[in-house]
Symmetry: D2
Subunit: 334 residues, 4 copies
């Protein structure tokens, strides 16, 4: 029997989740809920026959809903996810997981108590590009990791309730957690607001053990869209340009070899400059892969790797970054 | 009569200074000094007939030397410039000006006392690109400045005596001072070292009055060379890609208009998306323009805008950034 | 009352036509016909409630069908369009119009006799890019036209019934007719086949009056997708890169000025190198604009500019190119 | 003892030849000849101590000149090279070799009679990029060659004595001869002139045995500089972009596999889309490599592969292309 999903929120991203769930063999969309009549009209036109609701409580209470997908603004996540878990439903929730660390912790505890699963929608982890980079790190191709440096800027969709870090940084924070595999030790964030009280330009540095450093440049006021990440390893280095149609991931056999220098100014550094290689990247839609993986987890009653804990780590970093940002770059230990 | 230059240092950059001075009508190269015999041999081959010295003191003392050009590592600048000024010579000195703020201050005082001029070689200020951007800011085309955000990364020439900030950031620091026109209030720097004790990856944020923010990303471990700066104004935004052969400067008629919102979540932001325009950028060699300007200054006995004070501001920011870097992003007020 | 469309062919392009007709206020889709059951199933899923047919004759005979849209392989166009016109329907037909010049002529005559309209789906004419370039030519910005040079290559969808010219060149041929505004005098085509009997690589030169020349490079065996057209005018030159997200059309203030030379080898040519300018290009969907224009034409009973004659000119050039190709570049006068 | 070179022509390219010959251990520049006093002044400044002449005959007669380098306009090549060979000198001659096929043939015969060597300066054959592509063809990586397609356009230095084919196409013609390894069967050229009587836009197709086809697009009126060549093989395909600083040569594991279709419309074509790979390309200066190779040939008394015959093949194709161009694409068999 198909697993029934109830979708709360039919704005920008909700239709993609619905479209994928309808397409997959093991899932079906039992109901869609949105407070806006216009959104419900769109949902009706796109999905003839699906039950439409304006009250989230009604959706959560529906017996044919096994999983509640919370695709709403972040400040509503906690309450909706909590209600869904209390009602014994699994939860698929948009990133960032929650508005505060405490909310995230409470949802994790509640899910454990109710023996239900949470998946936080860190979609990028399921792209061909991130999966390929992850593979290159894990199989030793890149060697020891030196740094992760992402630029994610464009003329932004201004949000009223969050700053540019909460809007754009969760992508990189979830990817960093996935690739680096260890929690950061401390965060420094700087930035500035120009239009309303929320920062529209921000820079985040995260310090990790063993001299690994990560940096994220996010900006809602850039005239051009950039989605480029440099990943430096001891053996090889990667440039990931997510805007390229093909060749999103380029692996450079370039680097620095340090020898034994003699004398005080004699650091022997030699440069390697070899081939570049753009491995084929799986072009399938990340959201499809992610939802399929969620269905696997539900069938096997296993926690997904992008569950509550992964979501919480991102929220913890966002909260630390906010604190640092307010104090103009004050180091916040984690 | 031509102005005589004595050049100290014939490594990577010295030959360019010599070539330009030989080409200009108002200057001549009286002598070249380098401690390395190999460098002197190169100088002899490139400049038949020019006097070659191994002792800087001898060059400084030469009566046919009116200006001493100090094109040596930063830690030697103070001593050589001091000796030159003491001997009554003008000084052209490579950037960064000095190793410490105090050294810079003492050279400025000495030059004033001796009524001699110092020019710090902030070459980028004389490129067609920076001159065009400066013009667009000053004539109001860009509107109020929001941010300056530069990425300057490549597989670097490791320096033994300085970190990546001292190597790569002076370019942007001098440009920022020139474009923003006001001193920064505070600096935050983060970074990491991976090969020797010096940071090879670093990020610098500078806070300016009126919510202007600047950021510099410098990296010696990048597999690709990037020289891209975003400059956001209220009316228009600029992308300056210095690696483009043509179209280095692109001006985007893109931006955000903020209206009067009603209600709590109703910030009315509308996006403008208009033409893009790449003004023709003067292709002449920046160093030629700069040296010509120095000769003008010397003839008129006027201080250049890239004199000791401009050099000192860059050193002050580098020193502050170093201090912040050591304390993992501690805010350093200026 | 809405104008009723009957769509024949629900393969790759048909769904786009249907989606647009459903969206527009003045049109509705009365029926969709496709011989393949799989295609009909897709059509049913995408368009609940729309009548589905497997027999084109039945669709053409339907009283609620005012316009027949023929979105099928080129070798079927003539027969279907003829039947539709005979039945008193207007015709919207995929490019290329027909397989032969004679077929095109007969359809034009039939439409005239029946007082019905034909629109050939030269979609590219309705893109923001082509409309902008057309405007720049017509308002004199570019000056006298020198050449049109298009590269349209990729790893191709091999067609079984046509060669690469019939597949890819109609786009450029229709654009050339639109921009140049005069018929070509002669055509030369070269090319080669490598996999089956149809040319998969081809080059077409068209000679126009007043030294205007056009060239099209089409290729099904290119590892990269290229959609770049250079358009040279006496005053300004255009690079149109259709794969760019923004800045599809770039106008260069570059050119050559010829003066009066003295002596035999003294052609005085001077180069201009000025600004580049990327005008904002209307991003709306070309097919929507085109169908809206067709509805205008039908309402006003006016022939569209991309009617049978425009379609015939493209077919005439394709036929001439085929003839030239067979004779390895033999000039074919038109 | 060093081999003595006499250089005739010190315009744009001559200085590069001189600089390289001075740098190499086995060669020296005995004399430089140029009819223009300005050019001789430049030569004197660049090469203190070298003998300067205004009379080519005097240079050719000099006993310390073993090789005469003819770096002059093409219409002077024959006379100068003939005189040099008659005087018993070897000849290094700029491309294109001669103005006519007959001239080339006579020089080849004369060199054979005099037992002297001719090298035609097909510099591109000695670039890292062409050597790498050649290697990929010869070792079977690319599989059977399908096509060579080059675009070589820019805002051109108008020549008074030749058209754009003679100016820009020799690069590709020499590379094609080198890579394809067999003479073409026929040539088709089209083009147009807009400013003076010489074609400034031209397109050349060359037919080779076994369905290999080559195409060259040359243009002096392009607003942008393009140097891109697609090379299609049965197994892999290459994009060579000579304007890229790194990654000039990209090898795509993309292609088309043809299976056995059933039925008339059932050509089974499947697409491969795999990795892309940019092999490291030797960055050393091509002219240095070429001159070193010439010195090897002279020492061993061996004919260079880019000798008179290679030069003649290029001239033969240019002459055929000119003939075809005049007749608007008439096929010229070779």
């Amino acid at each position: 029997m198909k697993i029934g999903f109830g979708i709360i929120g039919y704005g920008y991203w909700g239709p993609n989740v619905v479209r994928n769930l309808q397409k997959l063999e093991r899932s079906r969309v039992a109901a869609i809920c949105d407070g806006s009549e216009k959104a419900r009209q769109r949902a009706a036109r796109d999905n003839p026959g699906v039950r439409l609701l304006s009250d989230a409580a009604e959706l959560i209470a529906s017996p044919d809903v096994d999983v509640v997908a919370v695709i709403t603004p972040v400040w509503t996540h906690f309450e909706l996810a909590q209600a869904a878990l209390e009602a014994g439903k699994h939860v698929f929730v948009e990133k960032p997981f929650t508005s505060t660390v405490e909310q995230g912790q409470r949802l994790i505890e509640l899910a454990a108590r109710k023996r239900r699963h949470i998946m936080v929608d860190h979609t990028f982890l399921f792209t061909g590009a991130v999966r390929k980079i992850s593979e290159l790190l894990r199989d030793g191709t890149l060697g020891r990791l030196f740094y992760y440096d992402s630029t994610r800027v464009n003329l932004g969709l201004f949000q009223h309730d969050v700053n540019v870090l909460w809007d754009l940084a969760p992508h990189d924070l979830s990817i960093m957690a996935h690739l680096i595999g260890r929690p950061p030790q401390a965060v420094v964030a700087t930035g500035q607001h120009h239009l309303n009280g929320h920062a529209d330009v921000a820079y985040l540095t995260a310090y990790y053990p063993d001299n690994v450093i990560a940096h994220i440049n996010v900006n809602w006021l850039s005239p051009v869209k950039v989605r480029t990440t440099l990943i430096g390893g001891e053996k090889k280095m990667v440039v990931w340009n997510d805007l390229e149609a093909d060749e999103k991931v380029k692996v450079y056999d370039k680097g620095v070899d340090v020898g034994n220098g003699q004398g005080i100014y004699q650091l022997l550094v030699s440069y390697r400059s070899g081939d570049m290689w753009a491995p084929r990247v799986e072009p399938s839609e990340a959201l499809t892969t992610e939802l399929n993986y969620f269905l696997d987890c539900l069938e096997r009653d296993e926690a997904p790797h992008n569950g509550g804990e992964a979501g919480l780590e991102v929220v913890r970093m966002l909260a630390a970054a906010d604190q640092s940002l307010c104090q103009r770059g004050q180091l916040v230990e984690l």
